[in-house]
Symmetry: C2
Subunit: 403 residues, 2 copies
């Protein structure tokens, strides 16, 4: 238990935006206002990039009404950055902190952000400058250690589920092969979430591919062929970080291929390339007439008006808990423990050491992936369903008995 | 005024699905149930393809509860088809109609579907077989003549607006150039709808390109350069049917280029290719570091849980009105006339001749496009805003004064 510190606080949002990272920001702001030891709560504009340039806004002046709108808005409301601060960068930040008497540091982000908090805290310690450094988890990829799940995942998972529910109905109406490439970097959680909207036996996605289960192009095509043979159509969800059996990502193989084969203005490393490449593979190997591919892109993390209410609530709580913890501890990362599931879904919030989260990545557990490596298990659905906060109902009539 | 016909009815859904084509289907079914002259209401599975193969389901047996879920579901609940029936095809359909005593024909679709209804009606007349053929408008492209706007557009417009609101906030948080390729074939309405969520002076999309205003790649790059110079970032919405100044679509130029330059498995005519190509052009011409591109794909027309309530209500009414009209007229297409705007927005439904809608395409009126050909006017916003049925509020704090 640390002594109270009467000082200013700074909060930053780091890495890729999510649908609820602003809810965490608002959680930090509103909780900070309750603690007299925290004098001003500054927002670092564009995260560490703003800290190093002394670019701050006064978040204590933002009205309650505006904060509620911020909490419901996608993206990072005070700007973000992908900078990874080195020692020199951190010295500059600590100089600014000293100048402004900033001793509370709240950083909302993924494992890199936890690492930044860890480094800053260690350097401040070494300099004899007492700070409280707290990491607030966020990532659509759901790939942080310790916590049961990450704020941001539930909302992105809801997007994937709604997208695939619509896409599967579309594919029933105009049958063929449909391939959707989904975010998640080296973790398959978000791609797996594409299966959450399935209710009918033949609902898609019929096949799902995760970075945790490398697959050859031949196996991929054979899987699709089998589904088309059975249903006359096939909807596939593919992780952007999908690997071949030699461990090289499909996207990388494609990019290398493109650099060798094409020239001029044609870009193959862009966002749509993997989906188009896979569609081409299926067209070539299977001679299926109608093959379509989509890459969901940034819509997955920043779509206005779409939030999982469970996710938004938890994200806000994570921000609040970080401030509460900072009143008693030197540093840490906020994590969630699931204390009930299904209809009794509930979480508790707890502190873990920064080094437990910093720079580490969680993969999908084996129990969430089916034996064939191309689908999810009931265990995954039980894990992820409470996080999306409900899904719409849909109906398809075309399968009814003919008269 | 035609005499009453005691017979069966068929309804079909044709062409690309939308978010509310099922609302129109339900409108037809529930209104048909009110008219004793309509005995059974059959659903043609996969539109004309089902009619010609005698594949029907009995829609009169679907429960009220299920119908309400159908009306809220995206895609075409009884399947659709892109078949364009020729004379021989129509003869087969009429034979099936005779066999089943089908004399009411309701076809939900775009201008091709209006044409199918027109052809069937003409051929039935010539054969002395009295049918009532009605077209119910639907298209996300909003490109049908006569009607003020098309069911399906408002929901897709809401998707674009929410997508660009999120994307613009994302681009504020991580500045760069972002290009979004949007559906709409040869009409720019849907791309224009991407501007509906703008509220702040510097909100994106900052540039919009429509098929109605051909643009050279140099002008495109110069426009982006000017916005980047002013704001340090730029969000661009581009119609998939965008043309160069020689009248050739950008997508076609790219595809030709790809066929010449690349070989093997690389597909450039897939959905992501145009967006990636444009991103490549900007990277090359402007030396902007961060350039991203997304192609929204099928999410735009089939995303579960996203409807404009105005659009869903009007789509359902269009289905109902078609049945009412069929009680009194031989044929026609349902159209909407706007009788009030803004807070007093309202429409009236009326019948127009099939030939007024069949095979014809509406472009965006000049008054909706700005003088530079790269943005929308207030007149467009006044026209389209009532159709999306409300948009979420968002806030960005990063532009506030530094402290």
């Amino acid at each position: 238990m640390a002594d109270a510190l009467k000082a200013n606080a700074v909060v930053g949002q780091s890495g890729g935006p999510t649908g609820v990272i602003n809810a965490s920001l608002v959680g930090v702001i509103e909780e900070a206002a309750k603690h007299p030891d925290i004098q001003n709560i500054y927002g670092a504009v564009h995260a560490v990039a703003g800290m190093v340039k002394d670019e701050f806004i006064d978040l204590g002046r933002v009205s309650r009404e505006t904060l509620d709108i911020v909490a419901a808005s996608p993206s990072s409301a005070i700007g973000t950055s992908r900078d990874k601060p080195d020692a020199e960068y951190c010295v500059k930040i600590l100089d600014i902190f000293k100048k402004r008497n900033i001793r509370y540091f709240f950083y909302i982000g993924g494992n890199d952000s936890a690492n930044t908090a860890h480094i800053l805290n260690t350097m401040a310690d070494e300099a004899g400058f007492d700070i409280r450094a707290f990491h607030v988890p966020k990532t659509v990829d759901n790939d942080l250690l310790v916590t049961d799940h990450c704020p941001g995942f539930g909302t992105a998972a809801k997007f994937e589920a709604c997208a695939l529910m619509g896409d599967d109905l579309d594919n029933r109406a105009l049958p063929g092969v449909k391939i959707d490439v989904i975010m998640g970097r080296h973790a398959g959680f978000l791609t797996a979430a594409a299966a959450l909207g399935r209710v009918r036996d033949d609902d898609g996605p019929h096949l799902l591919y995760f970075p945790e289960r490398p697959v050859s192009m031949d196996k991929f095509a054979a899987d699709v062929d089998a589904v088309v043979g059975k249903l006359g159509r096939c909807v596939v969800a593919v992780s952007e970080g999908m690997c071949d059996t030699d461990g090289v990502t499909w996207a990388k193989k494609l990019a290398e291929n493109a650099e060798t084969d094409a020239h001029g203005n044609i870009q193959l490393s862009g966002t749509g390339a993997l989906a188009d490449f896979l569609a081409g593979q299926i067209k070539e190997k299977l001679k299926v007439k109608r093959v379509r591919a989509d890459t969901f892109g940034y819509l997955q993390r920043s779509f206005a008006g779409l939030q999982s209410d469970v996710d938004a609530r938890e994200a806000r709580r994570c921000g609040q808990e970080a401030v509460k913890m900072a009143m008693q501890h030197d540093n840490g990362s906020v994590a969630m423990k699931r204390t009930g599931n299904g209809d009794n879904y509930a979480v508790e919030f707890f502190r873990t050491d920064l080094c437990n989260v910093a720079e580490k990545t969680k993969s999908m557990p084996d129990e969430f992936i089916n034996a064939d490596g191309n689908g999810v298990t009931d265990a995954f659905v039980e894990y992820a369903m409470p996080l999306v906060g409900g899904l719409p109902k849909t109906e398809y009539l075309g399968g009814r008995p003919r008269v």
